[in-house]
């Protein structure tokens, strides 16, 4: 019995090594916290427009029969800068409908930012106090939602979208291949 006790540390080490090896090789993303939004109707959208003189954003904008990409961004967010060219491309070349929502970002900051980088958003909302972000289960910016024509959330990307996301899910989604 005493002897077995001495094996205990070795056993613990072996268990831990096994877990780390599995974590490293299985492709599990430890940063992923999942999303409860996927498969459900998109949360309420009722926001003033970011660009002066435009109509406010409503739920109807997400139920047009065509897929919509919703992107929460902020001028103070560096990853937003990195994913911006991808949205520009989606708008310019794939003709995607993209709704941008400036999250916890003043108009005076967000508008010049869009002017400087180019504005790929068909509609742009303004969520200064972050309440809409709360409804949408936002953990920060940037986050991106793919919403199908009936207003159901199909994908939720936390963090910047990448070339791989674009090729593997977003482009097929826009073509109607991903449900």
């Amino acid at each position: 019995m005493r002897r077995l006790l001495f094996i205990l540390p070795l056993l613990t080490l072996a268990l831990m090594a096994g877990f780390f090896a599995w974590s490293l090789t299985s492709g599990r993303d430890p940063a992923s916290i999942g999303s409860v939004m996927v498969g459900r109707p998109a949360p309420k959208l009722d926001l003033p427009a970011l660009r002066p003189g435009e109509a406010p954003l409503t739920d109807a904008d997400l139920r047009t029969g065509k897929p919509v990409i919703v992107n929460f961004f902020a001028s103070w967010c560096t990853p937003c800068l990195a994913e911006h060219p991808l949205f520009t491309r989606l708008r310019e070349r794939e003709g995607a409908t993209i709704v941008g929502i400036a999250w916890k970002n003043k108009r005076d900051d967000a508008l010049p930012w869009l002017k400087r980088l180019g504005d790929p958003f068909k509609l742009a909302g303004f969520d200064l106090d972050g309440k809409t972000g709360l409804d949408w289960g936002l953990s920060g910016v940037p986050e991106t939602y793919l919403i199908d024509g009936t207003g159901i959330v199909r994908r939720h990307y936390r963090g910047p979208i990448t070339e791989r996301d674009l090729n593997e899910t977003i482009l097929p989604f826009l073509k109607g291949a991903v449900k």
Partner: protein, 435 residues
């Protein structure tokens, strides 16, 4: 200095370890006398107990015999150990004894010696120190970011004068990109694309356009564009290391395997053999005519090999250069053309190519149509190239377009230094054409 201090510390540590280890190994004689003293004490105690009557005489005699037996055994062991260590042969002492004796000092010497060996192998004592405050300069971005505002202001000022100034457009695109922290923004992209129209070979424009492609999810296109740029760059171009690093970074991020055969890590090399050092030395020994003969035969050999491997662009460029040096300008122009069909050549090679063409032009004659085509490309890439300005002027005059000829020659005249020998001739021609 630091190395010296560390060496000193190591020596002190090893000495501190070795000192007690070596001292502990008492001479076997000392140990024997110690043992014997104990046995003598035991014998004396035995005697006292026997005298006091606490031990029976028979038991006392047995115990005495036992102690005496141990004394003899200790004496024997001491003799063999001293003999063993005196002659240095491991035969007398058992191997485990030797290990116990020598392992600790050997280890305490081995570890620092191993470290020293590794350091001598991989260390670079001559490397300058990198204090924390200086490390930022390894990154080119911060130092360049400082003059982004200046770069942008200058580019905008130049564009205000000439909205189509390709240099200023490229600088604007670069400035806007740096301003956005390295993201090629939409306005930057537009400026770069406009600049590309007049500068299709410009490395800076091509680099940033590739960067835009990489950022907008088209890593393959970006890598292809950068690869072409890499192939078209002279082997000593200052941007090549950065360009290769970027190609590797984007390929890795996008999970694209770079084909191993592609020259991703080195300049585009011809597969054709270059003369070895011995061959070069042997050639230097030859008489001038023989040397010329030998060079010509080598160049002809290269030409023959290239006929079998016409895809070797670097080989064609080398052949063209060789023909040009030998004065075979028609062959040189032809070889440049072959390289150009594989991938368009840059401005520097265009200048050599154009030179090979115009050297064939007899004095007073008009350059051929092929020569004009090359010269026009050269002029596009380098609007102030004297060769292009002069010979395109000649061609324009021959075609009856005197205003175009005059415009070129006058531009050239303004570019020439005051003591240029061809000034007089050029002024004559301008005068003649103006009539």
């Amino acid at each position: 200095m630091l190395e010296f201090l560390l060496a000193l510390l190591t020596t002190a540590t090893v000495a501190a370890l070795l000192w007690p280890l070596l001292r502990m190994r008492l001479p076997a004689r000392d140990r024997l006398s110690g043992e014997l003293a104990i046995y003598r004490d035991q014998l004396a105690e035995l005697e006292r107990e026997r005298a006091a009557g606490t031990l029976k005489p028979a038991e006392a005699a047995a115990a005495r015999t036992e102690i005496e037996r141990r004394m003899l055994a200790a004496g024997d062991a001491a003799t063999t150990t001293t003999k063993g260590s005196a002659t240095g042969s491991a035969k007398a002492s058992t191997p485990s004894d030797a290990v116990q004796k020598w392992l600790p000092p050997a280890l305490s010497l081995f570890v620092p010696l191993l470290a020293l060996g590794l350091y001598l192998q991989t260390g670079r004592p001559g490397l300058p120190a990198a204090p924390f405050a200086d490390r930022g300069s390894e990154h080119p971005a911060p130092s360049r970011q400082l003059d982004v505002a200046g770069l942008l202001a200058e580019a905008r000022a130049r564009l205000a004068q000439d909205p189509n100034d390709a240099d200023a457009l490229a600088a604007l695109g670069e400035g806007l990109t740096l301003e956005a922290g390295g993201t090629v923004t939409q306005p930057a992209l537009e400026a770069l694309q406009r600049a590309l129209r007049t500068r299709p070979d410009d490395a800076r424009i091509l680099y940033y356009l590739g960067l835009h492609e990489a950022q907008s999810g088209e890593s393959k296109a970006a890598i292809a564009r950068w690869r072409d740029l890499e192939a078209a760059s002279p082997p000593d171009a200052p941007w090549l290391p950065m360009l290769r690093a970027e190609i590797a970074r984007v390929a890795k991020a996008a999970g694209i395997e770079l084909p191993p055969s592609a020259p991703s890590t080195q300049a585009p090399q011809s597969t054709m053999p270059t003369p070895s050092r011995e061959q070069q030395e042997a050639m230097a020994q030859l008489a001038p005519e023989q040397r010329q003969q030998a060079i010509r035969s080598m160049v002809e050999g290269l030409a023959a090999r290239l006929a079998d491997a016409p895809q070797d662009r670097a080989g064609w460029l080398r052949l063209a250069n060789a023909w040009k040096v030998l004065g075979e300008n028609a062959n040189a122009a032809d070889a440049y053309g072959r390289a150009d069909t594989l991938a368009p050549v840059d401005a520097r090679i265009l200048a050599d190519w154009a030179e090979a063409h115009v050297r064939q032009v007899a004095p007073g004659a008009v350059p051929s149509a092929q020569a004009v085509a090359v010269l026009e490309r050269l002029e596009k890439a380098e609007p102030r190239n004297a060769l292009a300005l002069f010979y395109l002027g000649v061609a324009a005059e021959a075609a009856g377009n005197k205003p175009a000829a005059l415009q070129r020659w006058k531009t050239l005249l303004a570019l020439l230094p005051a003591d240029a020998p061809i000034r007089g001739m050029l002024e004559e021609r301008i005068k003649a054409a103006s009539r």
